[in-house]
Amino acid sequence: MIKPPFPIDERTRIIIMRVCTIMYVLTITALLVDLLLRQMVLHQSSDQFNDIAMIFTFNVIILIGAVLFSGGVPFLKIRPKIVFFLFIVLIVTGTIFTVFKYRLTDPVLIFNKFGIITAISGIFFLIWVLAAYFGKRRIDKNL
């Protein structure tokens, strides 16, 4: 094992983790603000910020999945009603955002977008449920 150049004890480890967490949150928030600015204010085309959008999206998916896998949130103990409510909030937020972004007025188009958003949100939720399930199994195995 590589020895660090300076002594790290449990207290300094906690400080480093706290600072890294804060900086991560600030960075993700800055990415989100940047994305919204480019879309809503500067009206840039999506190919100009696709890379930032992908970094942000994968980061959030993996963050939530990692928290669930490591047992940070007892997802499987959350009432199904709450999970369903969160799912609906995700779909509704995505649909509203899409409608405003593309200035959609045609109900058929809106319904199509709604379907795509539902499918994508469903995939995200499936990934998170699987992460929570396999994380719980891993923890139970170690007990």
Partner: protein
Amino acid sequence: MTMNTKLKLARVEKNLSQQDLADQVNASRQTIGLIENGRYNPSLALCLKIAHALDKTLDQLFWEHQDD
């Protein structure tokens, strides 16, 4: 006697500086100082290492009696 005082007394009894104790338990001098000042709560693992280094039990160093 508070936990902090007990820890400091036990360290002084053994003629150890904060740095000496820190070296023995793989912590930093600042951490030992903060524990003695009551400004940092060590983990159980670190408490055990400190108790072992000072030849004391956990109760002798870290137990706090609540006054009635």
